[in-house]
Amino acid sequence: MIALERATKLYGTVIGVNDLTVVLGPGAHGLLGPNGAGKTTLLGLVTGQLRPTMGSVRIFGEKPFGNARVLARIGYCPAADLLERRATPREWVSYLVRLNGIIAPAARQAAAMALDRVGLGEAADRPLMTLSKGMRQRTKLAGAIAHDPDLLVLDEPFVGLDPVARHDLVVLVREWAVHRSLLVASHLLHEIEALDAGLAVILGGRLVASGDAEEIHALVDSMPAEIRLDADRPRRLAEIACGSGLADSIRFDGPTGLSIGTRRPRELAALLGQAAVGETILISTLSAVDRSLEGVFDRLVQLHRGIGSGSGGVRPAAPAGLASEKVP
């Protein structure tokens, strides 16, 4: 359904997407990455807003840029806020549907159904400038689904939504993804997790990992984790950690700080605890890498940026090799 082959997008000397190869089949997919990672550029390539500088982008087997056949099958809800002022949601969504070549009465009907579906039926005739950001967000979503596309592309769809609206949107999008395809970009992992979508992690314009949430966990488990501590004798603890063979990297953070990279964090933590008792070393703080998906995500970001366990000793395997995967 979505196939990028060594796709690169440059804005002058700035890289938006960097040599990205990925194949996404039908179903729900989450595109995860921090702000500036290249998510919106990637969505721009997918939705035919942008042409790749190098490589190729195929959607439904065709190039999307300027391709009416492909664009007719895509619904896109961009991240940019809708600043249309006087139009009502009904007028705006009807207008968008008419741009798909649908006659006015049918467009009005489709708009009404879409607005009901996103829970905006009662506010459909209020000017957009009087609506909250969450309501405008739902208006954008209604515009994206009203023409019944095969692929729904959402860029940061939960921004500005209250918890109830967020829940409703999750339900709506999950229902959508049962029969059609979905690509959601977000910088918040729990949003993607809530959609039960496959994950693709993008950083610095590169795909650094892909799979489902468990696969991403397993991936990170195979990489060095990091234990950080503050102690009165950090050099002695570093010596014990190195002697045990459990440490992959060591870094001193000031006179009392110590960061140890390890693939066996539980065993190392136990060893450090024993050493602290046996040699009366005062450990004031000790923290391990967060095992939640947020922690996994942070870990991938750190690894990509070369921060963490690699800086003072043994470097972790570069995650770039994780790219180019096919996500089922």
Partner: protein, 256 residues
């Protein structure tokens, strides 16, 4: 058929945008301006000849009012969408870019010509020429030709430099329309101002009274040729703008 529906949807939506109270007030003020100038002139000298009044109306309505109206309606065709955060939603539709350009062109021509015709009616009354059907119908054609030609002309800077479209269009208006348009050379053949001037001179029967050096500033071909030339010029410029817009890309940071 789908393309026409898309174009008509954009045209209708743009007209609704233009029907905002502030826009209407601005348009009414703009429409009344030529009549106010003419009244002020007549107050100073009430015995001005008809030819001078016609020249004044020509400068104020088909030139000034049409030009200003199109600057505010045609120039922001892309910039407005980028600022409103609607560019991506519109252009992700099949043929969305072309619909946006042509639909906005139609709306700009429709809106500006309506304002200019209102302005013309007021100006003719102010000049005491409201009962001269020949002059009135001549100006109606001049207004329509001016709107079509200039809207297409402003479409080019609007798609080439969307965020500086207004400045670029003013520059184009001066350099192309009022500098190149008055050069007695081949270049003036591709300007709207030459065609409008030529139509005015021919329909007013001023050709024989023009001094030889001024004859170089008009085209002596029949009126239908002048009108056809403007339509052809507008088609070429609109097509060029459409091709450029079809290839335009805006990085995410430039949007909103």
């Amino acid at each position: 058929m789908n393309a026409i529906r898309g174009i008509m949807a954009v045209a209708g939506f743009q007209i609704r945008r233009l029907l905002a109270p502030q826009r209407i007030i601005m348009a009414l003020i703009g429409a009344a301006f030529p009549a106010a100038v003419i009244l002020a002139v007549r107050r100073v000298d009430s015995g001005l000849p008809v030819e001078l009044m016609v020249l004044l109306i020509y400068a104020l309505v088909p030139e000034a009012v049409c030009m200003l109206g199109l600057l505010v309606t045609m120039c922001p065709v892309v910039a407005d969408e980028l600022e409103r955060g609607t560019w991506q939603q519109v252009t992700v539709r099949p043929g969305g870019r072309r619909s946006l350009l042509v639909g906005t062109f139609l709306a700009a021509v429709g809106w500006t010509s309506t304002v200019a015709l209102l302005s013309l009616a007021l100006a003719l009354v102010a000049a005491g020429l409201s009962r001269d059907g020949q002059i009135a119908s001549m100006f109606v054609v001049l207004v329509l030709v001016s709107c079509v030609g200039r809207a297409a002309l402003f479409a080019l800077p609007a798609v080439i430099v969307p965020k500086r479209a207004l400045v670029a269009s003013v520059a184009v208006a001066f350099v192309v329309e009022y500098l190149a348009g008055f050069l007695p050379a081949v270049i003036n053949q591709v300007t709207v101002s030459l065609r409008l001037r030529s139509l005015l001179v021919q329909w007013m029967g001023w050709q024989r009274r023009l001094p030889p050096e001024l004859e170089l500033l008009i085209d002596t071909q029949p009126p239908w040729v002048q009108v056809t030339a403007v339509l052809a010029l507008a088609s070429v410029m609109l097509f060029a703008a459409s091709v450029i817009l079809a290839w335009r890309q805006f990085p995410p940071a430039e949007e909103s």
